[in-house]
C-alpha cells in the first residue's frame, strides 16, 4: 500500500494548474472584479479549452494507441481537482466521459455534453453549455420501463442542433448557460447499453466529486489567507477561535473528501482486477461516498469562506458566490445526496 499521490500524478496536476493560471476564471484571483460578458459561445473559454485539450486532459483514460494518455481514474481526479480549484467552466466532465466511451473525443476537438434523463421526475431536463456543444450524450430509459431501474437505460448520441430547447433567461450561475429541453423522446444513435450508462454516471460522479474537492480546498486557502490579513479588535481575525475553528473545519472537510475521492478512484481502477481481501468498500459505494462528502465539503466551505470574509464575502466583486453557485449546481449533477445515500445503503 502506498496511498500517496505519485510524482507523475502531482506533475500532471501541476501542469494543469499552470495552464489554468494563464486563463483565470471570473471570481478567482487575477480576475476578481470581472463582470463582463461570457468569455465565449455557450459559456466556454475557448482559449483555455484548447490549451487544456493540448495537455491531453480529455483523454486521460483513453489508450495511447487511440490518442489518449493511457492513464487511470487516479490521474483523472487530480486533473479535475485542479479544474475545481480554478473554477474552470465548460463541459469538461461530459467530454472526458465521452472520450472514455468514444476515443474520437480524446483530443478535445469537440465539446460533448451529457443529459441524464433517468433521474428524478422532472418534466423538463436542463442542459448546460448547449450552444457550445458539438455532440450530446443522453442517458435515457427505454420506453415502457420503470425510471431509475438499472438495466433498462441506454446511451444515445444526439446532434445538439436537432434539439428543441429554450434558453433559460436567468441562470443562477451566470457562467453556465442553461437550456430547457422541450422534447422527448429523442432521436439519436445508440452508443451504449445500461452497463455503459451506469459506468458513465459513476465516473461522472467521481470527476464531479474531484472538482468539488478543488472548490473546497481552494476556498479553505482563501479563507485562511484572509483571516491572517484582516484585523479587527486590534488583531488578525484568524487568532480568534471562533474564526479559526471555521477554518479548521473547512480544512478537515476538504481533506476527508479528498481521501474519499482518491480512495474511490483507486477502487474503481481495481474493481476489475479484484482486491487482496482487505476490508474495502465496493467501488460503487466508494464513489457515492466521495460524491456525498465532496458535495458537502464544497457547499459548506463556500458558505464558511463567505462567513470568514464577512460583509465583503457577500459581494459580487469578491467572487466567492461563483464558487457557491457552482458547488450547488454540481451537488445536483450525477446524483444528489439522497441518491448516493440510497446507493450506499444498498451496500450495507
Amino acid at each position: 500500500m502506498d496511498f500517496r499521490p505519485t510524482q507523475d500524478q502531482r506533475a500532471l496536476a501541476g501542469a494543469v494548474r499552470d495552464v489554468l493560471a494563464k486563463h483565470p476564471a471570473p471570481g478567482t484571483p487575477g480576475r476578481e472584479a470581472e463582470k463582463g460578458p461570457d468569455p465565449g459561445i455557450g459559456g466556454v473559454d475557448v482559449a483555455l479549452w484548447r490549451d487544456l485539450a493540448e495537455l491531453g486532459i480529455f483523454g486521460v483514460r483513453v489508450a495511447e494507441a487511440d490518442g489518449g494518455l493511457g492513464l487511470g481514474h487516479p490521474e483523472s481526479v487530480h486533473v479535475f481537482e485542479e479544474l475545481g480549484r480554478a473554477l474552470a467552466t465548460g463541459p469538461f466532465t461530459a467530454t472526458a466521459l465521452a472520450a472514455a466511451l468514444l476515443p474520437e473525443y480524446a483530443g478535445g476537438r469537440h465539446r460533448v455534453g451529457l443529459g441524464d434523463l433517468t433521474c428524478g421526475n422532472q418534466q423538463t431536463q436542463i442542459l448546460e453549455h448547449l450552444d457550445a456543444l458539438d455532440a450530446l450524450l443522453v442517458i435515457e430509459i427505454v420506453d415502457g420501463e420503470t425510471p431509475g431501474v438499472a438495466g433498462h437505460s441506454q446511451v444515445l448520441r444526439v446532434e445538439p442542433i436537432e434539439l428543441r430547447a429554450d434558453p433559460v433567461p436567468h441562470p443562477v450561475d451566470p457562467r453556465v448557460p442553461l437550456h430547457r429541453l422541450r422534447q422527448k423522446p429523442l432521436r439519436g444513435e445508440i452508443v451504449g447499453d445500461a452497463g455503459t450508462a451506469d459506468a458513465l454516471l459513476r465516473e461522472g460522479a467521481l470527476l464531479t466529486a474531484a472538482y468539488q474537492v478543488g472548490i473546497a480546498a481552494v476556498l479553505t486557502e482563501r479563507a485562511v489567507a484572509y483571516a491572517k490579513q484582516r484585523t479587527q479588535f486590534g488583531r488578525a481575525i484568524g487568532s480568534f477561535q471562533a474564526v479559526k475553528h471555521l477554518c479548521a473545519d473547512m480544512f478537515a472537510r476538504a481533506e476527508l473528501a479528498r481521501a474519499a475521492v482518491h480512495s474511490a478512484a483507486v477502487l474503481l481502477c481495481d474493481e476489475a482486477a479484484g482486491h487482496d481481501g482487505a476490508d474495502l468498500p465496493t467501488a460503487a459505494a466508494a464513489v457515492s461516498t466521495a460524491k456525498l462528502l465532496a458535495d458537502e465539503a464544497a457547499v459548506a466551505n463556500a458558505r464558511s469562506a463567505i462567513q470568514v470574509h464577512g460583509g465583503m464575502g457577500c459581494t459580487w466583486e469578491m467572487g466567492l458566490h461563483f464558487f457557491l453557485k457552482r458547488a450547488w449546481a454540481l451537488s445536483l449533477a450525477y446524483g444528489r445526496a439522497a441518491d448516493h445515500a440510497d446507493l450506499i445503503s444498498e451496500s450495507l
Binding site: F3, G234, A236, H245, E255, A259, H262, A265, L348
Partner: protein
C-alpha cells in the same frame, strides 16, 4: 496511489490471520469491565501471547525487542485483529502507546532495560499521571510539586483521569520542579513513579456509563528516586509531547474498523425492526457509512505518509482524523439508539458495562471528543500548526502587546 498489499504485506496479513485463528479460540471469556484484577490477568495473558508470537511492540525498533514493523504492517495488524475480534490492548494501553515509546526515545539505557522488556511481555502495567483537576486542556499549567531532597524527589499534588491506576505498577508522572510562577512550559519534569510508593492514594471516579476506569490520584510526600527521572530536569514538557503524536495517529485506528462493522449491524437491525423503511434513518446510516469509509481512507493516507517520512511519526494531519472520528463515533451511538427505539432505555445486562453494549458505548463515547485533546483543541492545532493562523493571545500577555504582535 494504490491500496493493495505488497507481497510482503500480504504474507504478513495471512500469517497474522492464521495465528489469530489458532489462538483466539483458546482465550477465556472476557472478564467484567469492573473486575480490575481479572482484566489485568486477561490483558496481560493476551500481551504475553502476542509477545511469544512476535507481535508485541510491533512498531517498536527491533533493538528494543519490538518487531520493527512498518506503519502499514502496524495498520494491517490493527485491522486484522479487530476483524478477528481479538482483545484490545486494554490495561497495557499506556505502557505500549505512551510510556514505552517515550522510554525508547528519551530514557537512559538502564531505565530502558529495566522497563521495556517487561512492558512487551505484559509483566508491567503503566498508568499516566499527566492531567490534574486544574490542568486539563491547559496541561502545562500542572501544579503537582516535586522538591529535591538528596537523591529523591518529594512529590505532592493531585492527578486525575488516571486509567487503570488500580492495577498499574508504574506511572509516567509529570511534575513541576521549576518555580510555580516561572514560564509554565519550562520547569516540568518526567518521572517514573512506582505505584506502590507510600503516599499514593487512589479515589475511583465513576463515569456516566458506570465504569470505574478512571481514578483520581492523590500524592502526599511521595518519595521518588532521582534515578527515576527521564531526561533532564525541566525538559518534561518536550518529552511528553513526543508521545501525543503517536496517540492521535494510531490510538483510534482499530476503532474505525469497529465502527464500520457496528454500522453494518445497525443496518441489519434496522432491516429487521422496520426502521429501515424510514428513508431518513436509512440515509443517516448511509451518511455515517460514508464518513467512516472516508476516515478509513484518511488513515491510509496518513499511514502512507508516515511510512515514507523520515521520522515515521504521524503528522499533524492526525488531528483531522481525531476530530472527525470522535464526532462520527458519537453520531454512530446515537443512531444505534434511535434504531433500537425504546429498547435503548435498558442496558443489556446487570453489569451494564461491557465492550460493545450499545447503551454503555453511547455513554462512553461522550469522552471521545474530550480525551486525548478535545475537539476544540484539535481545531486549534489544525488552525495554528497546519494552517498557520496566529495563536490566540494568552491570558497572561497584555492585550496591547498582543495587538502589536509582541505576545509570546
Amino acid at each position: 496511489m494504490q491500496l493493495r498489499d505488497t507481497p510482503d504485506q500480504l504474507r504478513f496479513r495471512e500469517d497474522l490471520r492464521a495465528w489469530l485463528r489458532t489462538v483466539l479460540p483458546t482465550l477465556d471469556p472476557q472478564p467484567s469491565q469492573d473486575d480490575w484484577q481479572a482484566r489485568r490477568t486477561y490483558d496481560s495473558h493476551w500481551q504475553a501471547l502476542l509477545h511469544q508470537a512476535g507481535y508485541a511492540g510491533l512498531n517498536w525498533p527491533a533493538e528494543y525487542g519490538g518487531r520493527g514493523a512498518t506503519p502499514t504492517e502496524h495498520l494491517i495488524f490493527l485491522e486484522e485483529s479487530e476483524l478477528a475480534g481479538a482483545p484490545y490492548v486494554g490495561v497495557n494501553f499506556v505502557g505500549l502507546l505512551h510510556a514505552g515509546p517515550t522510554l525508547i526515545a528519551e530514557a537512559a539505557p538502564e531505565q530502558r532495560e529495566r522497563h521495556i522488556p517487561a512492558i512487551l511481555r505484559g509483566d508491567e502495567i503503566w498508568c499516566q499521571g499527566f492531567s490534574e483537576p486544574d490542568a486539563g486542556s491547559d496541561l502545562a499549567a500542572l501544579r503537582t510539586r516535586a522538591v529535591r531532597d538528596g537523591d529523591h524527589y518529594v512529590v505532592d499534588g493531585r492527578k486525575i483521569w488516571t486509567s487503570h491506576a488500580e492495577v498499574a505498577d508504574f506511572c509516567e508522572l509529570l511534575v513541576r520542579t521549576g518555580p510555580a510562577d516561572g514560564p509554565k512550559h519550562q520547569g516540568i519534569t518526567w518521572l517514573i513513579m512506582p505505584m506502590d510508593a507510600p503516599g499514593v492514594t487512589l479515589r475511583p471516579l465513576m463515569t456516566a456509563g458506570g465504569s470505574t476506569e478512571f481514578s483520581e490520584m492523590i500524592l502526599e510526600d511521595v518519595r521518588i528516586p532521582v534515578a527515576n527521572r527521564v531526561g533532564a530536569e525541566g525538559d518534561g514538557w518536550r518529552i511528553a509531547m513526543v508521545t501525543f503524536a503517536f496517540e492521535r495517529g494510531t490510538g483510534f485506528v482499530a476503532e474505525v474498523v469497529w465502527a464500520r462493522r457496528r454500522l453494518a449491524e445497525i443496518a441489519a437491525l434496522a432491516r429487521e425492526n422496520t426502521a429501515w423503511e424510514d428513508s431518513e434513518t436509512r440515509r443517516r446510516i448511509a451518511r455515517l457509512a460514508a464518513e467512516f469509509d472516508a476516515l478509513w481512507a484518511l488513515v491510509k493516507r496518513n499511514v502512507s505518509e508516515a511510512e515514507h517520512s523520515a521520522a515515521g511519526i504521524p503528522g499533524p494531519g492526525s488531528s483531522v482524523f481525531k476530530l472527525r472520528f470522535s464526532e462520527a463515533r458519537q453520531h454512530l451511538d446515537d443512531l444505534h439508539a434511535d434504531v433500537r427505539g425504546r429498547d435503548a432505555l435498558a442496558f443489556d445486562d446487570d453489569l451494564c458495562t461491557y465492550d460493545g453494549e450499545p447503551g454503555y458505548e453511547r455513554l462512553r463515547s461522550l469522552a471521545y471528543t474530550i480525551a486525548a485533546g478535545t475537539s476544540q483543541v484539535q481545531r486549534n492545532i489544525i488552525g495554528e500548526r497546519i494552517l498557520g493562523l496566529p495563536k490566540e493571545p494568552s491570558a497572561t500577555a497584555p492585550a496591547a502587546g498582543a495587538a502589536k504582535g509582541g505576545a509570546r
